[in-house]
Amino acid sequence: MRRRRAGAPLRVGCIDAFGWRYADRRMDHLDLFRQMARARAFEDAVAALWRQGRIAGEMHLGTGEEAVAAGVVAGLRRGDGVALDHRPTPVLTALGVDLVLMLAEMLGLEAGLTRGRAGHMHLMSKAHLAASSGIVGSSAPLGAGFALAGRTLRPGAVAVAFFGDGAMNQGMLLETLNLASAWQLPILFVCKDNGWAITTRTDAVSGGDPVTRAKAFGLPAADVDGVDVWAVASAAAEAIDRARRGRGPSFLRARVPRLDGHFLGDALVRAARSPAEDGRQLLGDVTSAVLSRTGGGLGDRARSVVRLLDLMRRARREDRDTRRDPLERARSSVGEGPAARLEEEALADVGRAVELAGRGA
């Protein structure tokens, strides 16, 4: 279901006078929307289980990244490798990894994808050549290795590495951009740029921008709106096609929202959302610290406080911000009726998966 014909680029954004072409494009839209709806329904269910205390640890969701996941995966086929970060779920659902197995893994069950050993930050499926990691930036070199193995063993196979903008400051990632360029590896680097590096604004700790950096290493680099699934799919298809034909690596920066903070229960988001309750301790500690007799000069103290307040303001503004929700964007393209039907299907699929996975508990 997930795979396109070998190497066939998506025909998106090219409506012409022929009805068949239009129909074909419409099918693509529905298929992409189906994947996005499935990912969202799945992660909504995961969030509910986490809140019930049935899923442990730092739960990083990919809500807001569905268009990137669906759009890129649409260009992949069997034998391609996929290296993932700590928000792997939307890509894995789009790759067709079994929902019940993933849920059972997150519930820590023997029936899980990797028998409850890895958990949600380290989901891996050997059958899909897909592996995620909780170490920021590590997906890039892993993906380069997948690309090398693919080129050597399965000519025409490619790899994709997904990571965030925070990872763009990680040495191993920058080294990999160079390595992939030097070795002309068949890989697509996908930077899901949500503007945050945990609780830090990425632009406050970065020089230059991701696209310029990638170009400096000799990679063709595209900059797309990551909530526009058609834009992602077409840019990714072009880059993947280039890799398949032996023309080396590419870089795609897709700007996405972070709908659920760094992870569920993000302390900064909670403090920003309800300063009177969740933020009280933080604000109290900061206030008494600012008023200490010893410390930095007034200007230094003021600069810190202004930056902290700005951070909280941004966290509050972006918390569950539906204006940049990729599903809302895609819904208007596929039409309310078909979209609602696909979302219902996704909910039903996920509901069945939750029930089946829960039986193992």
Binding site: G57, G116, G119, M121, N169, T200, G295, S304, L308, L311
Partner: protein, 335 residues
Amino acid sequence: MARLEFGAAIDHAIAEAMARDPRVIVLGEDVHTLRAPLYSRFGPRRVLAAPISEGAFMGAAVGAAMGGLRPIAELMLVDFLGSCLDSLLNQAAKVEDFTAGEWKVPLVVRATCGGGYGDGGQHEQALWGLLAGIPGLSVVVPSTPSDAHGLMAAALRHDGPVVFLEHKLLSRSWLEFLGRGGRDTVTFDVPPGGVEGEVEVGQEVPLGSAAVRRHGSGLTIVSLAVGVHRALAAAEALALEGIDCEVLDLRSVRPLDRASVVASVGRTGRLLVVDEDYREFGLSGELAAAVLESGLSPRYARVCLDGTIPYARHLEDDALPNVGRIVAAARSLSG
């Protein structure tokens, strides 16, 4: 005396040092939010938020220390050591020896460690054995707020590189940040004695000195961090069976207080190591070597982590040293 939580006791020692000495700075990922009080009191020039670039900021911290500052570099989780090991292994640890003692690196690396909240194999490791295996580094791992304060105060006065590890089960703020996330639907086996306590403010705990937490004559349990609290709970249960345990809290892994270990084992004739780090090629083996080298030949056992920490909570509970495993090992040594 002040009643402080584990994390606050550490921050208190840092704030004192920063107020006293303008060379003390804090840098690392998210320090403006994680250390918001320090950030707002001392300003962004002394509390520097870093990008997710462990190799760069840890290496820069080493250089800054060589250049005259006294940096505290925060590595959010010690597991991220993998991304910056060179800075510690080949730079910080080597300079003093390379210069025959002339040039020192007054760097404190602060990192969280340890498991027990379901974060899996890349975010819950101990790694103190790996770090302590590097000559030139000091490695400290407190088990109480008082020691956390005193060891940080001592680390900040020390002229060489010190890795200060903060166990997440003992730090309410870290456990809330990484494990609970505002939920009241999850529980953790938190040792109350380690989370909050009386702290003698300004009182240093010297590096390399162990503390006896419980006196006993039949068996010496050597541990650190959360393991100390597990060992104390096990000792209570064992006392009912007539097994009288001494519990020694190492507090520092390197320098290792060999004298205290040897003195205790010399009295009891039995050594049980409780170590949340990996069993093989680490601290537990080093302790066996220490007592053998002293001429003792005690009965010996260890309760450690045997492999990668599993994600599933019930598997994790079995993998980490727990009271049941300690009691069983102590019985087998005493039989």
